[in-house]
Amino acid sequence: MSAATVPAGLRARRRVRTSNRPRALTLVAAVVALAFIAPAVWILVGSFRPGNEIFESLSPLSWHVLFPNSVTLDNYTGLFGNGFGGALLNSVIVCGASVIGGLAMSALAAYPLAVLRFPGRSLIFAVIVVSFLVPFEAIAIPLSQLFSDWHLTDTYIGLILPGLGNGLAIFNLRQAFRGIPSSLREAAVIDGASEWRILTRIYLPLSGSALINCSLLIFLGQWTAYLWPLLVTSRSDMQVAPIALAKTFSEHSFDFGQNFAGAVLLSVVPAALIFLLQRFFTRSIANTGVK
């Protein structure tokens, strides 16, 4: 087809060749992308079809695997009948509180590390970033024993606290603060503003996108957390959504419709946030990876 649009002559052959290459590569990219997305589509479709149809549609394999014969919301209503709504609410509470607390802590820590001069600054910066980047899971087990000694088991505080510290959040905020011209701060100092005032009135309002990025990091960390809530909660009314979903999976392992519906509900929130805030998300990736 594209050959028709290319003018005739000596150069035409070369252009045809270069315009075929993207087409071949596009085909490869499309095949790989469809392989990646197929399981997710299967889950999404499965969550809207009657439970027994999920596996019956497989033999013989036909297009019905991805296109249901009948659509139903039974899986979702059944899931909420099993108390999944309460678990979702717990997740929202834990994530919201973690974002607020985590932002406050990260901004307070990033400000002196970016603009103030004090002995041991680079050492403290290194310690903070490294200690929050060491994978939390490695110390989750001993920490859960400490939390049980401190009577934080089955409490919101117990679920929230470990989600506050995020090395990447502090790192990104510090980068953003360093990009703010120091003349602004100097002028405020001359006017007699305290550091607290400078932080809240100048630095925070100028760092909107970095703050959104940090909120996203903290939120995603808590929303997807599984090991920690597993260790620190035992009461069913304190369950967060991933734990409740895992429970449905091990208790009603034959009702895949409900499991799929839970997986979809759990995924919709982070997926929507990431695509809405895509710009801020990729920014953090560019920061860390390339810098």
């Binding site: 399981p39 820590a109 400000y111 903070i128 001993p142 024993q145 997807t224």
Partner: protein, 316 residues
């Protein structure tokens, strides 16, 4: 008050005599006070949430407790560690964890790099393909584990697909020979798209002139990749390598949810084993020793990776 702003330069210049030094000390004092105040929550959090549990794990690993807590625990030195390493089951777990990581990390990074290179070429609908490959990492790992648990069932869609192309069905998660490979597949389905994004960012930061120069030198695509792209990607690659290794060393959810370490311990990797020892077998002290071993192995491997990539950087 304007003095507060200026002397900072003096401080940097070094020895300022007499009154100037006093002033800069006051500035330093002012800054230090605010810094201490602002950093306090983060430092308290680090001590409470990182330092104390790490010390607690080391301490617990040196003691031996008794069930029920009626008798006080007793200091036993390195006994827990010698017991662990004397146990063939634990040694197998350790080897399995290292082999698992030696396979999954290079596999994920090579595939992520290939995809990143592919998706930075001129393509139709490039953004769409990138998004589709990234979507699996937006699904919380509990959700994706359940999805794959269903997909890999003997009567699941993967076997239906195999049957459709004339292959015999496989046992997947129920076979000791295939279960760990399935865990690798699941973790990679989630991880590859994520690491790909970092590498795409790295590829886009490579100056275009370098490719122009390579073209003028008549370098082929492979030569260009090896001599231009790879060296320029060293930083993002190092980051991805370290972050991916760390993440896979503490991989937990698919093992706990889908195989529970089995069949025949074939998917018992260190993180899950530490969890099971501590809570399943209620052996707090042995579990603590496993946590310490896991952390040490992980830190050693990350340090080696830093060394390797940094030394290469020194050569060029």
């Amino acid at each position: 008050m304007s003095v507060l702003a200026t002397p900072r330069r003096d401080e940097r210049a070094g020895k300022a005599p007499g009154p100037r030094r006093r002033r800069s000390w006051r500035v330093g004092h002012h800054d230090t006070m605010w810094a201490a105040l602002f950093l306090l929550p983060a430092i308290v959090a680090i001590v409470m949430l990182r330092v104390l549990p790490a010390l607690g794990a080391v301490r617990d690993s040196l003691y031996r407790g008794f069930p029920g807590g009626l008798r006080p625990e007793r200091f036993t030195g390195l006994d827990n560690y010698t017991n662990l390493f004397a146990d063939p089951g634990f040694r197998a777990t350790l080897v399995r964890t290292i082999v698992f990581n030696a396979i999954i990390n290079p596999l994920q990074i090579v595939l992520a790099l290939l995809l990143a290179v592919l998706l930075t070429q001129t393509l139709h609908l490039r953004g769409v393909w990138r998004t589709l490959i990234f979507i699996p990492c937006t699904i919380p790992i509990v959700g994706s584990s359940i999805a794959w648990g269903a997909a890999l069932r003997p009567d699941g869609p993967v076997n239906a697909l195999l049957a459709a192309v004339g292959l015999s069905p496989q046992p997947f998660l129920t076979s000791p020979n295939q279960a760990l490979a399935c865990i690798i597949l699941i973790a990679s389905w989630i991880g590859i798209g994520y690491w790909m994004l970092f590498l795409i960012a790295g590829l886009q930061a490579v100056p275009h002139e370098l490719y122009e120069a390579a073209r003028l030198d008549r370098a082929g695509p492979i030569r260009t990749f090896l001599s231009v792209t790879l060296p320029m990607l060293r930083r993002p690659l190092l980051f991805v390598l370290v972050a991916d290794t760390v993440a896979n060393f503490v991989l937990f959810v698919p093992v706990q949810l889908l195989t529970n370490g089995g069949p025949e311990s074939s998917t018992t990797i260190l993180m899950f084993d530490a969890y099971r020892t501590t809570f399943g077998f209620s052996s707090r002290n042995l579990g603590a020793a496993e946590v310490v071993v896991l952390s040490v192995v992980m830190l050693v491997i990350v340090a080696v990776q830093f060394r390797l990539l940094r030394d290469e950087g020194g050569d060029s």
